[in-house]
Symmetry: C2
Subunit: 412 residues, 2 copies
């Protein structure tokens, strides 16, 4: 029988009533003829409680014990979900990570999945089990200890199972009903997308549309797992939510699919850097070593032999960046007059695979912002994305204007 993976997040299994509602959705898919693998998170709040206890006992905790403790929330939900399905006469059983076994490396608390053997679950499907309820977020290390995949790891678990079992689709049930052209709280014209390409979703996710874990989208793209994001709080039709899929599946699309934004980006400028071959490496090497996630980089030649270097990074990494650059300067590795941090900016991005084949998108974006009197501080582009930094006070205005200009309220 075809396999479907369904993942329910913490808010979707927060109470016994919600577990029942989720189980009903599973029952609908079973009735359609699917063998279903359900991936569950911990009931919302449970994991935070456990993490809080671990931190209170031991701020520099042993990650192996952390994993043993925090993985228990998912085990509870898995058992309760299996019982709920059985009560609805759906043959189901629960699986903890080590029982599958979902094999990971030994990087406790942020382990990577190495293999998911399919024989154990398939044997049970062969015996008439219709639903395997698997505790998300966890696995087992080569040493036989429990590992976790890091926060949000249940999305990744779901996609990995879909890939391993060749599932027809991986449905991610969450508390939003899909992916929007922009944040509906900022633009009332925001429209839910029926489909979006993996590449677009990756850009939107890393830009702050926190519907799916970036890692799970990457995995889905690599194994071509069709991902559907939908709400567990609404009655569902077959085409509910947003399908995240390969570009080839999307017949028609707007040039721009969505407008993303981020408030948590800071602009940092090194003024009058002594320019020489290898200077970029000398600046960004220490930043990388210090764990600073540099996003946009711009270099302007200011005068002969000297240059200004501007980059952006998350606001909460500004102090770390300043320290790393200061130390590099003291060691004589780089030389600059001044370092200016501007944390009062926002990043606005237009994302769309259509940009690859269509020119004029950047020009239209710049003109739109200019018409609204929004000054652009930094520009960066990739194949399917144009990002600008603007003063934070213009953020909502810029998002709304761009959403209008690219007519995202209208389907392609």
């Amino acid at each position: 029988m075809p396999v479907l993976v369904m993942k329910f997040g913490g808010t979707s299994v927060a109470t016994l009533d919600r577990i029942r509602r989720a189980a009903k959705r599973v029952g609908v898919e079973v009735a359609k003829g699917y063998d279903v693998i359900v991936i569950v998170s911990a009931m919302s709040g449970k994991t935070n409680e456990l993490v809080g206890w671990v931190n209170e006992i031991s701020p520099l905790y042993d990650a192996r014990e952390y994993d043993a403790v925090v993985s228990s929330g998912e085990n509870i939900t898995a058992g309760l979900m299996a019982l709920t399905l059985q009560e609805m006469n759906v043959p189901a059983r629960s699986w903890q990570g080590w029982q599958v076994p979902l094999m990971t490396n030994s990087a406790h608390s942020s382990a990577r999945i190495e293999e998911i053997p399919t024989d154990n679950l398939n044997a049970k499907f062969g015996e008439g089990m219709r639903v395997a309820v698997v505790a998300g977020f966890q696995g087992i290390s080569p040493e036989g200890r429990i590992t976790t995949l890091g926060r949000g790891g249940s999305d990744t678990t779901a996609v990995a199972f879909a890939a391993a079992f060749g599932a027809e689709r991986c449905d991610i049930y969450t508390d939003v009903d899909g992916v929007y052209t922009t944040d509906p709280r900022i633009s009332s014209k925001a429209r839910k997308l029926d489909k979006i390409a993996f590449e677009e979703m990756l850009e939107l996710a890393s830009l702050g549309a926190k519907v799916l874990q970036t890692r799970s989208v990457e995995l889905a793209m690599r194994y071509n797992v069709r991902l559907r994001v939908l709400s567990s709080f609404e009655e569902q039709s077959d085409d509910a939510g947003t399908l995240v899929c390969a570009e080839e599946e999307i017949m028609e699309s707007n040039v721009v699919s969505g407008i993303a934004y981020s408030r948590d980006e800071a602009k940092m400028t090194l003024i009058s850097v002594a320019d020489r071959p290898g200077i970029a490496a000398a600046i960004f090497g220490p930043l990388s070593d210090a764990g600073v996630n540099v996003d946009m980089i711009i270099q302007n030649i200011a005068e002969e032999g000297r240059t200004d270097m501007t980059f952006s990074c998350p606001t909460d990494q500004v102090k770390r960046a300043e320290k790393a650059l200061q130390e590099a300067k003291e060691k004589g590795e780089i030389n600059y007059h001044d370092l200016v941090a501007d944390t009062d900016v926002a990043k606005i991005s237009a994302v769309g695979i259509g940009m690859r084949s269509q020119s004029g998108v950047a020009a239209k974006m710049f003109k739109t912002l200019s018409d609204e009197g929004v000054n652009i501080k930094v520009i960066a582009t990739s194949e399917i994305k144009i990002s600008v930094l603007v003063d934070r006070k213009y953020m909502e205005l810029a998002v709304q204007a761009l959403h209008d200009a690219f007519e995202l309220d209208k389907a392609a």
Copy 2:
């Protein structure tokens, strides 16, 4: 290094502070040179919460899923205890049942321990680990699924580990500071026993002194595991609590060690049963089939060819007993005039291994009760126990009088 097993019940690990206090006790034993195996229960209240959820979802639950859910409380405590010990610089790690592995049969929710291989833990002790924190109450079935040992199973886990590892002693930390000559709430003269024989403890436990699970005492007796019951809420000396041990270790003891009582016993009398060979089997067979735990049995010949048959059973099984006997009568298997249930009785027992060699204990017991005007309704005796049923209103009086008569307030 010699091995010590220490078990902490739910109230002893109810909060992070209490886990810290328990960990300090463990640290004291490690400092003495022991390799320690710590068995932990779930934080108090946790297991009840999980059991409540399972019952709410599915009153006739799949015991395999029940076990998967309710075993998670112990896993949490095990990890938290290991972290707390590490924070005190004691090399420790947690073990879930399947990791040891503690192998059981497949009788989910009341599984029996089949084997505890020692190689995994011993390998870690060999590498410098000083404390193995093991989640109590759980194991793994031959099918690779999680099993639980039934309520109170953590005591049994502790004794089984002590037997498997040849531990010097198994310390059971709980919320009482030992085993008393009788319930201190009933007699202010109740005295804590320093030592008590396994056989005596078994009689006291099954008679209502609910300090230790009967099953764990049976196991301790079979493998001669020295069990110490002590409080986790008091500073401990080396001879704190009560040692439950083989008779040979007890040099001096009173003829009677303790006076136990039970309010939950009912007296049932079948009046004028047609007497014939096999009549006892015809009566008690159906009761056994109905799950009625018959304790005392008395037969009186009332008239030629007819007899009265009296027995006791737990009060909450009276309805079940009546139904079973009524059905046997309707089928013509037995014949009686009437069935009278008296639930207004209490059972009082004097227990002591000294009775084996000393006569006159029963006579002294009966005279004491008679002097107090307490009428005895049923008498039953075993090698080390004399039990009587009396009107419930005399229970406290009878316990106090017997405690005085056998001078239990004085050590031997």
